[in-house]
């Protein structure tokens, strides 16, 4: 490429990078989008999307030699034969676990937006106020009012299905129609509403086009067909991913240059100019280095890799990593505590069942410590809730014709099975951090990331409370055979790792300002999970999208004023 100069550079093409690409390109900036993995073109590169169950050699299972060599990725619920090609194998991209951490990654255009769980709940001021009210981390430099119009902006474009619930702690958004809840999900919703003042069960808002609007048709997307095979990529564009939505939209402007197979080694900082001037890239195939330049750089490499890039971007001005004057880069990493789950059986509503498949379920917004501190632990948890009726197991006794006839009989419907999993806020701490390994490098010469992130006493107390409260709610609702379980899973498997480059008001205690700019290097922006000051309990992607669109808008207006 002769011309290595662009108006903007976006590092990463996942859920937030895709948004940065779209926003810059739409505003007329020649934008280079760097992606470390291969290209994945919507529909063209979804090899398993229309495969039938019998066409999978191992009927969905991961071969044992792969699972054995790649224990972290093999623990991911979505790492199955139909979507394994979208996930990174541990062995292909090693990292150092100072404490157990299952780092789940997707290195391709679209990143993890291809396989995400598509849950999209807004934050409220009860979330943004958390750190300052409860005295942890640092105060968020923004509040709900700053983000609300941007939530609306991204929801309208992405297509979010939801029900307007009118809850102050989970604000309503721009919703496409909600799908059904199941009979027993509705029963539990009504039961909880009349039994508790402060607890609610709602339809989980999700990034599915339940009724396409002109904007979705313009994107080439259609109605969700309830296949529930989203992790393979959707031929209908029924759910939001970068590949079907933001990336082609950016490409259609003619302003995007997409460069796959490009690992960003570092961001180039010019001491004389006092700003970042571009990025150093390693071609993953040829291992050749190249440099690209632009007046503004967005880092959207996914939370921990964004930390890695900044830590590796050293200069005489920033010997400890770009923007790292206070030594806090890589610190205050947090995640969501997904260890707790609870299941039960419901013997009512036996005259009813469900028909078809639902890509979402019900959601229990955080009800602990929302309006005031009320427990011996900080913050709280949200929970999923689903109730389905499955056919009882097939009778597999005996052999021969009798067995075969049993297998061919329609299994009798069992009772309703209900279940919840917790999504707990974890408290960002200086002792939960990532750093660069001093000796080990990967095959492109990048230092390996060392991850030192663990649970604490607050997480244990919260887990117990989740079991107690959900058991109480289930018992009151008449559910039986209640079982709680602690998966004891390592951090990371929640795939909600956040922080390390947190936003804040004070450059002494944070890395990014209220516009996601590095305090010390204003033309570098971080708008993926790395920017999160605290985690609250909502699935975070929608917030990254809104923060990204807002930050690009600010960046472009600053560029126009020559203030970057």
């Amino acid at each position: 490429m002769a011309n290595n100069n662009f108006d903007a550079i976006v590092i990463g093409s996942g859920i937030s990078g895709g948004w940065a690409a779209k926003e810059f390109c739409e505003k007329g900036l020649k934008t280079l989008v760097l992606e470390r993995g291969r290209n994945v073109v919507h529909n063209k590169d979804y090899p398993t999307t229309n495969m039938m169950p019998w066409e999978f050699k191992h009927r969905g299972q991961i071969p044992e030699d792969i699972a054995e060599k790649n224990p972290s990725i093999a623990r991911c619920y979505a790492y199955r034969e139909d979507a394994m090609h979208f996930f990174v194998k541990d062995t292909d991209h090693p990292y150092v676990q100072d404490k157990p951490f299952d780092w789940i990654r997707g290195y391709q255009v679209g990143g993890k937006s291809i396989m995400w769980a598509r849950q999209t709940q807004r934050w409220s001021d009860y979330d943004f106020d958390g750190p300052v009210r409860d005295g942890y981390a640092v105060d968020w430099p923004i509040r709900y009012k700053d983000l609300a119009p941007w939530y609306s902006y991204v929801e309208t474009f992405a297509g979010i299905s939801g029900h307007r619930d009118g809850l102050p702690n989970l604000p309503d958004g721009e919703f496409l129609p909600a799908l059904d809840l199941s009979c027993v999900e509705n029963y539990f919703k009504d039961f909880i509403a009349k039994t508790y003042n402060d607890r609610h069960v709602i339809y989980a808002r999700c990034a599915h086009v339940t009724e396409p609007q002109p904007i979705h048709l313009k994107q080439g997307r259609g109605q969700c067909q309830k296949r529930t095979l989203c992790q393979r990529g959707c031929p209908f564009g029924g759910y939001f991913n970068s590949n079907s939505t933001t990336i082609p939209w950016a490409a259609n402007t003619g302003n995007m240059t997409l460069r796959p197979f490009s690992v960003v080694e570092s961001i180039i900082y010019d001491d004389k100019k006092g700003r970042a001037t571009g990025v150093r890239v390693i071609d993953t195939n040829t291992k050749e280095q190249a440099e690209f330049y632009a007046p503004v750089i967005f880092v959207n490499a996914a939370a921990l890799n964004t930390n890695l890039i900044l830590l590796n971007s050293t200069s005489s001005r920033f010997p400890n990593g770009l923007g790292n004057d206070n030594g806090l880069l890589g610190k205050y990493v947090a995640f969501h505590n997904y260890r707790g789950h609870i299941s039960a059986v419901h013997h009512g509503h036996l005259d009813s069942t469900t028909d078809g498949r639902s890509p979402t379920s019900a959601y229990i917004p955080r009800f602990r410590n929302v309006f005031k501190q009320e427990t011996d632990f900080l913050r709280g948890y949200a929970a999923g809730f689903s109730a389905n009726r499955w056919g009882g197991g097939r009778k597999a006794e005996g052999f021969g014709v009798a067995l075969k006839e049993n297998l061919m009989k329609k299994p009798e419907l069992g009772p309703w099975f209900v279940g919840s999993h917790m999504m707990g806020e974890t408290i960002p701490k200086e002792t939960n951090f990532v750093s660069l390994d001093k000796t080990q490098k990967d095959e492109w010469g990048m230092p390996l990331l060392k991850i030192n992130v663990g649970y604490d006493d607050n997480d244990e107390k919260m887990l117990k409370d989740f079991f107690d409260q959900l058991t109480e709610m289930y018992t009151k609702a008449g559910f039986t055979d209640i079982r709680t379980g602690d998966s004891k899973q390592a951090p990371g498997l929640d795939i909600h790792e956040m922080g390390g480059i947190r936003m804040g008001k004070d450059p002494k205690t944070s890395l990014l300002n209220e516009w996601n700019q590095l305090h010390a290097c204003k033309n570098v922006f971080v708008t993926d999970g790395a920017c999160m000051t605290s985690t609250s309990t909502q699935n975070p992607s929608l917030t990254y999208m809104a923060l990204t669109a807002r930050a690009v808008d600010h960046a472009v207006s600053e560029l126009k004023k020559n203030q970057l």
């Binding site: 169950p53 019998w54 050699k57 067909q225 296949r227 095979l229 009813s352 028909d355 021969g400 014709v401």
Partner: protein
């Protein structure tokens, strides 16, 4: 790609159709390449017979042989089972062959239908059956059932799998049919 690999991929692409040429069934060698376990051609034939005894062909409905259930079982054991499971399978296979020889002085494939039925009845009821044989039988039966209930036949004719349901109704009356 060598010949065996080609044939193997044809086998799986064709989803259970019987495409194994007779020349592949030479003694001593399995008809396709196994990575972790060693199974000979005779043993493969025996497994095909055993699977067919577990789920036999009936009028209009394919049985295990036609669905190549034994090849599916071998693939799953070879590629998706932890080492301990593979060892259990291999030990049990030998124990099973020994048991058949002791009882009928011949190989399983040469047994009459009555003999096969009598033997499997005893195994199902665990009547003086060595633990290794129970393990082996359990593994083979599990994969035979999986092969049947996830076959194209089953998922298009018995319990229809919908790739594109296009609908979700959260509350419908249970059909009493």
């Amino acid at each position: 790609m060598n010949r065996r690999t080609v044939i193997k991929s044809i086998l799986f692409v064709s989803a259970g159709a019987s495409l194994i040429p007779a020349c592949m069934n030479d003694k001593g060698k399995a008809s396709f390449l196994l990575k972790n376990i060693t199974v000979g051609g005779d043993e493969e034939k025996m497994l095909a017979d055993l699977c067919e005894t577990i789920i036999p062909a009936t009028t209009g409905v394919p049985g295990a042989k036609e669905l190549s259930s034994h090849l599916f079982a071998l693939t799953m054991i070879d590629e998706c089972m932890p080492k301990e499971g593979q060892q259990k399978f291999m030990k049990g296979l030998t124990a099973f062959e020994t048991l058949v020889k002791q009882r009928y002085s011949k190989d399983f494939t040469l047994c009459t239908a009555e003999q096969k039925t009598a033997l499997l009845t005893d195994i199902e009821q665990k009547k003086n059956i060595p633990a290794e044989v129970n393990d082996f039988y359990g593994i083979v039966k599990r994969f035979t059932i999986q092969s049947f209930t996830t076959s194209q036949y089953f998922l298009t004719k018995v319990q229809v799998y919908e790739l594109v349901p296009g609908r979700y109704h959260g509350c419908v009356p249970v059909k009493t049919a």
